[in-house]
């Protein structure tokens, strides 16, 4: 009875286009943000902040990026890891050469470079579609990874071929402690998620979805496939680029190019499929599922106290994780976001089944 939309009428189109048209959702979201911004940094310990929340947030951001490209614009890509690398290495190179630049500006710069590279590698999408495109985007992944390994300029001639995040200084705020890193990540992710939501509910978002759902028809109603697809690649890569930079600066600290390897690309793709293609919320749910679930399975396995060997637990982790993926797909092929929506629908009808 708590979750009802009856009695809530929208009198203007503005209200109707709001992100959370239902009041309960709005309050829930505000409460969540309050918890995330205030309670978590105060109460969370290093372990939770640093190895659970921060990577979760950053991966969510990358997943939003890929979801824009794959979930909204329908271009399946396996280059997300590569574009993250571009972001990370661009920010590093900018900051190491021009240290006085504000970190936020550097992030934007990293995102823009990634966007340019993304748009470049997006060109084949004008001709190649579906799974063929997916495999073809691996060219970007491998080429980028190779370039950063190969050309020492990118790592500022570091003899070990790695980049080390330079200290972050934002308007005098030195971001060092785990909670500070978490808050910075959270702020960036919140803002960018909001922007993403804005984009996908406006005319740009609609043209992406039109291209995704039926590209010939979209063209016939006047949507230019080239602009639309390349914009999707650029925006998506921007998000991935920023996520990559955050990954390097807020999470890993010191990064080799392999940290953004093919596995990263795959993982991000898994996230959006499991979370829900074409859903911003799904990006978060998917990131949670793919990043956190294995850890929880592992912790649970260790915590059982049965004195199981780590190898056994690890193998079971694989098995359980794989089974859960399949199970979730069978229960709801359209991802966790859809599952959540159905749950809400049921709640709204409750106690009546239909």
């Amino acid at each position: 009875m708590l979750y009802r939309d009856s009695g809530q009428f929208k009198s203007t189109y503005e209200d109707d286009r709001a992100i959370f048209p239902i009041a309960q959702d709005r309050y829930a979201m505000l409460a969540l943000l309050a918890v995330a911004f205030v309670a978590v940094p105060i109460l969370g310990n290093d372990y939770w902040l640093r190895s659970i929340f921060t990577p979760f947030l950053i991966y969510s951001l990358a997943a939003i990026g890929l979801n824009i490209l794959t979930g909204y614009a329908g271009q399946v890509s396996l280059g997300a890891g590569g574009f993250m690398a571009v972001g990370a290495f661009s920010v590093y190179n900018l900051l190491v050469r021009v240290p006085e630049i504000n970190f936020i500006l550097a992030l934007v710069f990293g995102g823009l470079v990634a966007a340019a590279v993304g748009a470049l590698f997006g060109i084949p999408s004008l001709r190649i579609k579906g799974l063929y495109l997916m495999v073809a985007t691996l060219a970007a992944q491998f080429f980028i990874e190779w370039s950063f390994t190969k050309f020492p300029w990118f790592t500022n001639y570091a003899p070990s071929g790695v980049i080390s995040a330079t200290p972050i200084d934002m308007f005098g705020w030195k971001v060092e402690e785990s909670w500070e890193r978490y808050v910075l990540a959270l702020a960036v992710v919140t803002a960018m998620a909001l922007v993403a939501k804005n984009l996908v509910r406006g005319s740009i978002g609609r043209s992406w979805m039109a291209i995704r759902d039926m590209d010939v028809a979209a063209e016939i109603i006047g949507i230019q496939p080239m602009q639309t697809k390349l914009l999707a690649f650029a925006v998506s890569s921007f998000y991935c680029g920023v996520a990559g930079a955050l990954w390097a600066y807020l999470y890993l600290g010191t990064v080799e190019p392999v940290a953004f390897g093919i596995n990263t690309s795959f993982q991000i793709l898994f996230m959006i499929i499991i979370g829900g293609l074409g859903s911003i919320l799904g990006s978060f749910l998917g990131a949670g599922f793919i990043i956190l679930l294995p850890i929880f399975i592992n912790i649970a396995g260790t915590g059982l106290g049965l004195n199981l060997s780590t190898a056994f637990i690890s193998h079971m982790e694989f098995i359980i994780f794989g089974s859960l993926i399949i199970l979730f797909l069978i229960v709801e092929p359209h991802g966790l976001a859809r599952l959540w929506q159905i749950a809400k629908e049921k709640l709204r009808l409750w106690p009546f089944p239909y």
Partner: protein, 416 residues
């Protein structure tokens, strides 16, 4: 009860598990031995917990964070067993005051303890190793002057790790007048035909070094045989010199050489003790017949260095559970001379070492071993690298890092 907690970051599954398993067993078996035979370190029981990283950076960080506060005083020190994880937790560990010990991997320039108070790439770094191999080649050729005009190849996994020795090799090539040819292999390295055609049919280097990892190793040895490159001119780094490199390659591996800092085989008193005190009680971590494998011994050496550092620190701070920063003091003041090594039942297994505030590496000594088709046989004594050259590069690199990060290096003369 007083106890000393050591987290073990291991990888017993995934693509690199074949290397991770013996490493994990060697480390844990030695700790078990200390408890079973000696009742711990000076009576302080050693406790440990494994956490599976799958050789994956994110999981490694998670493991580190999960385990760093366990035990009465938190983690004594951490062996990440992956260069990527080492990078990812180094700075963190510095703030947590937990020393990171990375034997034969990790951040090379961290050997400069002024910039890296909490990082210990002890025993030997890749740079020392590259230099030591060149010294070995010079020995075989009959002196450094004979290197002139020789062709030396460097076959490596195209990655930060594989590229790491190149600057040192280039410097040496210039100094000794040999030609350096580099042969990168695309990861993961299960397909090397192109590169071997170049090595075997085109360049034909007199000696070939290999910085390989995982499936690349065995494949390389096989391909060497396939193009007829002599295996006894083919020298791998220690990560390309274990059983997983040679056994899958079968006969092709006979004569293949690799460096090591923990001599191979279950031939030493310590192995006998492990058998008696650990395996006989059913407390072993792996199959008994695999005691003494190369990576097993390497990891055992890491365990020795770890526990001896704790023992050293107990000398200063008292016999009790120690905190990470106290163990760090132990590491910086660690001296393992021949006598001590013998007393530990490890004579010949590891070189003498002495760490200090300035030098977190120790001597950088390595030995060379050769696969005779059944087992690894030592074929050289401990070989030293060109210390001046290596140290120079380390200091330059560390200084550059310090500048980038705006760190002021410690003044070692003030350390106690």
């Amino acid at each position: 009860a007083q106890e000393q907690f050591i987290p073990l970051l291991t990888y017993r599954s995934g693509p690199f598990a074949p290397s991770g398993i013996p490493s994990a067993n060697g480390f844990a078996d030695y700790l078990a031995l200390l408890n079973e035979r000696d009742g711990g370190i000076n009576g302080i029981k050693v406790t440990w917990e494994e956490c599976e990283t799958q050789y994956n950076n994110d999981r490694g960080v998670e493991c580190y964070e999960r385990l760093k506060n366990k035990g009465p005083t938190g983690a004594s020190l951490v062996n990440p067993y992956s260069t990527g994880i080492t990078y990812a937790i180094l700075e963190r560990a510095q703030r947590d005051k937990i020393p990171i010990l990375s034997l034969g991997y990790g951040r090379t320039d961290a050997a400069d303890g002024r910039v890296w108070p909490y990082a210990f790439p002890a025993l030997a770094t890749y740079w020392s190793n590259a230099s030591a191999i060149v010294n070995f080649i010079a020995q075989k050729e009959g002196g450094h002057d004979k290197l002139k005009g020789k062709k030396i190849g460097h076959l490596f996994l195209e990655s930060a790790y594989g590229r790491e020795p190149i600057p040192v090799l280039q410097a040496l090539a210039q100094r000794h007048g040999f030609e350096l040819h580099t042969f990168p292999v695309s990861p993961p390295g299960n397909e090397q035909k192109a590169v071997w055609l170049q090595i075997g049919r085109q360049v034909r280097p007199d000696w070939l070094l290999m910085w390989g990892w995982g499936v690349m190793n065995a494949t390389a040895v096989k391909e060497a045989a396939a193009v007829g490159y002599p295996r006894n001119k083919f020298i791998g780094v220690w990560w390309s010199g274990d059983e997983t490199t040679v056994i899958p390659a079968g006969d092709a591996a006979k004569g293949y050489i690799a460096t090591t800092f923990g001599s191979p085989g279950a031939l030493y008193p310590v192995h006998r003790d492990i058998g008696r005190y650990v395996y006989d009680k059913g407390k072993g971590h792996g199959p008994r017949e695999r005691i003494g494998e190369v990576l097993y011994n390497n990891a055992m050496v890491a365990a020795v260095v770890s526990t001896e550092a704790i023992r050293t620190a107990q000398g200063k701070y008292g016999v009790k559970s120690l905190r990470g920063e106290e163990v760090r003091w132990g590491l910086e003041n660690l001296t393992l001379n021949a006598a001590r090594i013998n007393a530990l039942g490890l004579e010949g297994v590891l070189p003498e070492i002495k760490l200090s505030c300035l030098d977190h590496e120790g001597g950088g000594w390595v030995r060379l071993q050769q696969w005779d088709g059944k087992q690894w046989k030592l074929i050289s004594d401990w070989i030293a690298p060109d210390r001046a050259l290596v140290r120079g590069q380390i200091e330059a690199s560390a200084a550059k890092y310090a500048a980038e990060k705006q760190i002021t290096p410690r003044d070692c003369s003030k350390e106690g």
